[in-house]
Amino acid sequence: MTPPTASELAGLLRSGATTPQDLAARARADLKRISDLNAVLRYTDSLAERQAERAARTLAEVPERAGPLCGIPFAYKDVLCVEGVETTAGSRILQGHRPPYTGTALRRLLDAGAVPVAVTNCDEFAMGSSNENSAFGPVGNPWDPGRVPGGSSGGSAAVVAAGAVPYSLGTDTGGSIRQPASLCGVTGFKPTYGRVSRYGLIAFASSLDQIGPFARSVADVAGVFSAIAGWDAMDSTSSPTPVEPVEDQLGRGIEGMRLGVPHEYVAEGLEPGVRAAIETAFSELERLGATLEEVSLPTTEAGLSTYYIIAPAECSANLARMDGVRFGLHIDRPSLTDTYLETRGNGFGPEVKRRIMLGTYALSSGYYDAYYRKAQKVRTLIADEFDRAFATVDALVCPTSPLVAFARGAKSDPLSMYLCDVLTLPVNLAGLPGISVPCGFSEGLPVGLQVIGPRFQDGVVLRVAHAYERATSWHAEQPPVPPVASGAGS
């Protein structure tokens, strides 16, 4: 039986067939059952209990005020701050850290009556494409636990793919929602940059980060997006342009729409199974009435280099606050400098240290113009190319990831890992909305179709994704259900 979507659960709650407390308990039990995947770092039991109780009251007393997410359990990535809840960004350096405030996106979900049941595992400080960089162990892919779920939001993707919660929150800086969605066979959406407040998101790359939902249906994704999107006074980069009601876009179909296929995204580098699934998906889109045409984004090839200058540069500054003085890990030494060196040297994992050094180098005296400034110029080229493409097409379609889930440990070379994101990171550089929807399998492992839209046309992206989902059943496929672990309570 397919695990219910959030929309379906909302119906069950209103009909009285279940309660928020019951849903939370089941979610928790289902998460425990997949604990071998190591997708969950900690459970938020007292918060879940409080939220479930409040939601139950709302549903009973003022049901007209209960929004679509009221009483529904979800999980969220370990980089999102909730007051009093241990939030570690998958890092030893923040072990035990309890933020004194709640971030905006989560605040909006809590106000809507949502019930957070668990904090999910992720690559340390959101840096990675396989969730192998967490200080708390790697995450397994529900389709094959010996393989990676993708990253950095691997935990958030896995719990949704495994059917334990109907939706989760992740973050996407270079593909960290879309790529794990693709590898886990679920839907994952990165909104336009500035659409969702970053207040409360432990920053990786300030000009690239966005919070977004995973779910098993586009309708659910749209619902979560609507709940969290919109200007926030606490985030100067959040956009004041009003959020369009995206629900209107769902169900409109794509008849007559013009969809661009970026030549550089399909020409080479795709696994054969991925190519086959994508081409089938393209045929399906045409069958639904869209016209597909090739477009060119010539600077795509420079995207990786651009990203791997800008993101590390920004993160090198964002992570400087992890210094052992006001919070987090503190390795005591008589001198302050040694405390800094030991705390940061031991508290950060290798990938984080690599990127901090890369970023520091790119910004350092004598190198700024050649690296950082140059990268920001190339970024303009990349963004302009997308804009030019959108002058002739409504949206772009392409693969999300050139490969399916690979074996844990298979990519030990950093650069080969970075190449996982070549199809997703240009979207962050241009600040565009992008989604990944399941579009098939290759050797039993999920393949994702990516839809990219113009800035602030999040609804268009959801529209195309929804039409495709309606016409296919990939999103309903489920990974094998793990046996109940012996001794595990339910």
């Binding site: 960004a89 980069t237 606050r321 992890m322 919070f327 910004l363």
Partner: protein, 494 residues
């Protein structure tokens, strides 16, 4: 400075020219901090009681610009004749220090809010014009206290972040100053302007107005610049002047001996009257500036700037001109009155209450200034206040009380307050100016003081004062002094 040192200075300055540039940091008088809603008025707050996740630099927080801080900075730039480029932005200045929570300071690097201004002021009758390189905006750091108070020897330090994030304006002056006196006057003038336009409270002791100096020496007549030395830790204008004088002597003597000047940072040590080299940092600062990605850039349109300009309060020079023009004050009096804006306001309030301009000026510059210093209470916050003083001066002007009585009342009532008119009435302090009454007393005093009389008639002018004193004593200090003098002279024939 010892006499020998001073003469050393004079002599050295005949052969060497000092090139001085000053950097001033001024906290802005906003309600809230630069990037969060914590109070900007942190003085006296218990440690770490004025913070929030943003100014603590917690993971996941973001800065949001304070509009008033931007307006105040533009206001300052306009008062300093600067250009305001339409486009400017903030940058991250990256370094590690415990009073810098984020590990970077949000500041402005290559696109500051204003540039190319100037400040002009007289020193010893000569007009000095000092260029202003730029005025930009940034956030202040927290404060550190070192165990034992000496950083270099402290085994530990403690951090208070109450001040972290307070809006801080940086004013960089061109190296156009040539003497320590000019430097001091530049600071006096700059501080005065900032206080006048209401952006800074000019408090050096509390650190809301701070100054660092750069100084180099070169042979007179040379166009080449010498090695620049940075001087920090000067907590008063006098300290700035002394520190610069010290540096001129130190550097001049080294140059005389053919030695090179080290390019370094030196700290002024008040107790020693000397600058001490601060050990050069083990690792040179590479600030790795890059544009602040969390803050959209600024676009300050001509409209915006004009609105700020329209709201610009009166500048000191404008006030000085107005005091001369509208109130007939001399240039000197106008300058003294306007040195502190509180005094200028007091002056105008007194005039508004009916006191003659010259009277008001004299009282304010004389006894009131002295009392304000002694009691540490400016007139506006004294018990007597403007209205009280106006009433007091009025009594003196109308001859109701004499000069000495007025002064005595001022002393008495300044702190504790009180209505001068009522007090004079109640205690019968009114001036005795009835000629008949005074004549009687004068005759009696003359009769009682034959020695003083003969001294006076013998040519000793001072002897008259002993007789005047006698009349004052007899009238309990209330006699009209001018009339007493007149009567005495009439009777004694000179």
């Amino acid at each position: 400075m010892s006499a020998g040192a001073v003469s050393g200075l004079t002599e050295l300055m005949q052969r060497y020219e000092a090139v001085i540039g000053l950097e001033v940091h001024g906290q802005l008088l906003t309600e809230s901090k630069m990037f969060c809603g914590c109070s900007a008025d942190y003085i006296g707050s218990p440690p770490n009681s004025n913070t929030c996740p943003v100014c603590l630099g917690m993971p996941g927080v973001l800065p949001v610009m304070n509009r008033k801080a931007i307006e105040y900075t533009v206001r300052t730039a306009l008062a300093l004749n600067c250009e305001i480029p339409e486009h400017s932005k903030f940058d991250r200045k990256n370094y590690f220090y415990p009073d810098l929570p984020k590990g970077y300071q949000i500041s402005q690097y290559d696109m500051p809010m204003s540039e190319h201004g100037w400040l002009s002021f007289p020193v010893d009758g000569e007009e000095v014009r000092c260029g202003i390189t730029r005025v930009h905006l940034e956030e202040d750091t927290g404060t550190l206290q070192h165990a034992g108070d000496i950083l270099q020897q402290a085994r530990s330090s403690v951090v208070d972040l109450n001040r972290a994030g307070v809006p801080l304006m940086e004013i960089v002056g061109e190296p156009d100053l040539r003497t320590p006196e000019q430097a001091r006057e530049y600071l006096v003038r700059l501080r005065q302007i900032l206080v006048y336009i209401g952006v800074n409270d000019g408090n050096l002791e509390q650190g809301s107005f701070r100054c660092d100096a750069n100084i180099s020496l070169r042979h007179r007549g040379s166009a080449e610049l010498g090695v620049k030395v940075e001087i920090k830790n000067m907590n008063s204008f006098r300290a700035v002047q002394r520190a610069l004088e010290y540096e001129i002597v130190r550097q001049g003597r080294l140059l005389d001996q053919g030695q090179a000047i080290a390019q370094e940072t030196r700290g002024w040590v008040e107790a020693k009257g000397a600058t001490i080299s601060q050990r050069s940092k083990e690792y040179a600062h590479d600030y790795r500036y890059f544009p602040e990605p969390d803050l959209p850039p600024l676009q300050l349109t001509a409209d915006f700037v004009e609105r700020v300009r329209a709201g610009l309060p009166e500048l000191p020079q404008q006030l000085v001109d107005r005091l001369q023009r509208d109130h007939g004050l001399s240039a000197y009096d106008a300058a003294v009155i306007s040195a502190e804006i509180e005094d200028a306001r007091a002056f105008e309030a007194l005039v508004g209450a009916g006191v003659a301009a010259k009277s008001a000026a004299n009282w304010l510059m004389g006894d009131v200034a002295r009392l304000a210093r002694e009691t540490r209470l400016p007139l506006q916050r004294s018990g007597l206040g403007i209205t009280g003083l106006a009433a007091l001066i009025g009594l003196a002007e109308r001859g109701r009380i004499n000069g000495p009585t007025a002064k005595a009342l001022l002393e008495e009532l300044y702190v504790q307050g009180g209505d001068p008119v009522a007090v004079v009435e109640a205690r019968g302090l009114g001036q005795v100016s009835d000629e008949a009454e005074l004549s009687g007393i004068v005759d009696r005093v003359i009769a009682d003081n034959p020695a003083a009389v003969s001294d006076f008639q013998g040519g000793k002018e001072q002897a008259l004062q002993r007789l005047v004193g006698g009349v004052m004593k007899a009238t309990r200090g209330r006699a009209d002094a001018r009339l007493v003098n007149q009567l005495l002279r009439e009777r004694l024939g000179r």
